[in-house]
């Protein structure tokens, strides 16, 4: 199968973040970046589907500045066949603008399946995949926790609150990938060497008009220090009162 996977470069979410001087983004200095987790699952799913079928090609697509080429090459070193870098100065906050650029690239690619992570770890909007499906008029299935394709028939599973559903759908289609579906492989050292020789095309991203912009970014307020109300059983009534009236958790 001809599978496209759209991936995003995100910072390690365990980092200690600082707001950039512009006030509308994070300071990227010293941060470590990688493929967003759900997107990495999607790459792994695509590779496994083709390995199982014994044929097919995986293309990874990433939008952003030149630095995103590093994660495209990581996906290539995992086993994807080729990469496309849609060059933009920055990743816009407007999911529709992103989706339009991706749809323009994906439209004539002849792909059987378009995979996305269910959302990025940083922005968490989860908009790009569903919007691309809409723009291309394709069926869309979100947050798949299992995906099997046999003889052109696609079956996916979605986890619901206390239940799961199984769905059948026609290809080509857009599927966004949930966690737990597959553990991304380590790029092998041979894979890393081979990735250098794989094609990575760069073209300008055809971003739509950005109609959503970030006005301000702020860190959460520091949590106030704990307060000792008293000690022993005598303190319990006051503690209960404060939990009811101040913390409002009882």
């Amino acid at each position: 199968m001809n599978i496209a996977v759209c991936i995003k470069r995100v910072p390690d979410m365990e980092s200690r973040f600082r707001i950039a001087g512009s006030g509308v983004g994070i300071d990227e200095a010293g941060l470590k970046f990688d493929i967003s987790d759900f997107d990495a699952y999607a790459v792994e799913v695509a590779l496994q589907l083709n390995e199982k079928a014994g044929a097919g090609e995986v293309t990874v697509i990433c939008l952003g500045p030149d630095v995103v080429q590093e994660i495209i090459r990581k996906a290539l070193s995992m086993g994807a066949a080729k990469g496309v870098h849609l060059k933009a100065d920055a990743v816009p906050a407007d999911s529709l603008a992103i989706a339009k650029a991706l749809a323009a690239e994906l439209k004539d690619g002849g792909y059987d399946l378009l995979l996305f992570g269910k959302h990025s770890l940083d922005a968490m909007t989860g908009g790009a995949g569903t919007m691309v499906a809409q723009l291309l008029g394709l069926p869309c299935l979100t947050a798949a926790s299992r995906l099997e394709i046999t003889d052109g028939k696609a079956v996916a599973r979605r986890e619901l609150e206390g239940a799961a559903e199984s769905l059948t759908f026609a290809l080509p289609a857009v599927v966004t990938i949930d966690e737990g579906i597959a553990r991304p492989r380590y790029p092998s050292l041979k894979g890393i060497m081979a990735a250098k020789k794989k094609p990575l095309e760069t073209r300008p991203a055809q971003l739509g008009d950005a109609r959503v912009t970030v006005d301000k970014m702020a860190l959460p307020a520091e949590r106030p220090a704990g307060r000792i109300i008293g000690t022993g059983p005598d303190a319990v009534p006051e503690l209960v009162r404060l939990l009811q009236t101040e913390a409002k958790v009882l």
């Binding site: 090459r73 070193s77 380590y186 092998s188 050292l189 041979k190 894979g191 890393i192 060497m193």
Partner: protein
């Protein structure tokens, strides 16, 4: 990682960083969660071998045509660093497989031997060990008494014993160094491939180790072992051949020791920031800051030494004496850092739940093997004075 205080990452290529990240991820996911228990139980985590092979760490700097990854020596060094960040025993396994078993076959083997063994060894299906040290000949291997005698039909008969052999009981093949045909000179030393199961070849686990416990260390015994004519490594000749292998391994060890030091430093730093004593984190006290500053400084220096050594190796200009300096320095500072980290951790530092004491104990072996610290001092002494202190 907080240990890259000098942004040495910026001196690495994207590909070198990618290699490091992949092995780092493997060590975080697969080695760190299990290694403490393996250390206590005293066995090597053999189930990691297929995963390491899949990653491509065995003989990673040997050419692709023999099924290896064909990496440069800096990338290879970074692999050793990351593996030893997990445990010196895990790094030792990879060092022996790559630098001491695969390398001599690559450097001194016939084309047929290379095709037969190297791809299978890269896949982790054939494990190798390296038999040079003997019970009575450690720092002076030229005195070895293991002897191979050529028979009329060109086959060989091998007799002798080897000691302190990493992977000795696990290995499918042993690369054994022996003098030949009764000649006591070290010029007669040749290498032989001895498959497990060959009659007269036995191995025995060395018991009672307090260091490198998650590693197989064995004694090999050869009693009238008949080997076919094609068991000899045709390109090997003299003590120089095994010493060339040791240069490869020592190069990797200079990197590996940095990994152990990084693990101890990171653990100490994290602990110091979180451990509260006298109402504030112990990281706020001058005595611990002094410890941490010393550790960090020595790590940065060691990183720069090994990185430059790797660049020299890739350029083909590296000398064995430079490798001695790097191995000697980096293992020495790593042993000190591990001990200081253990002390900073207080009583918790003696638990296997923390890594520092395990590294501290492991590094005593690393300090002693592959040319002891003292032997490397004499190699450097000879290099700068022109006077040989060995004799």
């Amino acid at each position: 990682m907080t240990t890259d205080f000098f942004d040495i990452d910026s001196a690495l290529s994207e590909e070198e960083r990618a290699v490091r990240e992949s092995v780092r991820q493997f060590v975080d996911d697969r080695v760190l969660p299990i290694i403490g228990q393996h250390y206590i139980d005293g066995h090597f985590p053999l189930d990691l071998v297929p995963v390491m092979a899949e990653l491509g760490v065995f003989g990673a700097n040997l050419p692709e045509e023999y099924g290896c990854a064909g990496l440069n020596n800096v990338a290879y060094g970074l692999i050793m660093q990351e593996l030893e960040r997990g445990d010196s025993g895990v790094r030792s396994f990879a060092s022996v497989q790559g630098a001491l078993a695969m390398y001599p076959i690559f450097a001194f083997g016939s084309e047929e031997q290379k095709r037969r063994y190297l791809p299978a060894m890269a896949r982790g299906e054939v494990i190798g060990c390296f038999g040079l040290t003997e019970p009575d000949y450690g720092s002076n291997p030229s005195g070895m008494i293991t002897m191979a005698r050529e028979q009329k039909d060109g086959s060989w008969v091998l007799n002798g014993a080897k000691m302190w052999i990493t992977n000795g009981s696990t290995a499918h093949i042993a690369v054994v160094w022996a003098k030949t045909n009764g000649d006591a000179s070290d010029k007669s030393i040749r290498g032989f491939i001895v498959p497990r199961g060959t009659r007269g070849f036995t191995s025995k686990d060395q018991k009672g180790k307090l260091s490198l416990r998650a590693s197989d260390t064995s004694e090999l015994v050869f009693q009238d072992v008949h080997l076919p004519a094609d068991a000899i490594l045709p390109g090997s000749g003299g003590l120089k051949s095994p010493l060339m292998c040791l240069t490869q391994a020592r190069y990797g060890i200079s990197w590996g020791a940095i990994g152990a030091a990084m693990a101890c430093y990171e653990e100490a730093l994290d602990y110091a920031k979180n451990r509260v004593m006298f109402d504030r984190p112990i990281a706020g006290y001058q005595i611990q800051q002094q410890r941490l500053a010393e550790m960090l400084t020595e790590i940065v220096k060691a990183q720069l030494v090994s990185l430059h050594l790797g660049r020299l190796k890739d350029a083909g200009t590296m000398t064995p004496q430079q490798v001695s300096l790097a191995k000697r320095n980096n293992v020495h500072i790593a042993t000190d850092i591990a001990r200081e980290a253990r002390r900073l951790l207080g009583a918790n530092g003696i638990l296997a739940e923390y890594a520092s004491m395990r590294h501290m104990a492991n590094l005593e072996s690393v300090y002693t093997y592959e040319g002891t610290h003292d032997v490397h001092s004499l190699i450097l002494g000879q290099a700068v004075t022109g006077l040989n202190a060995f004799k």
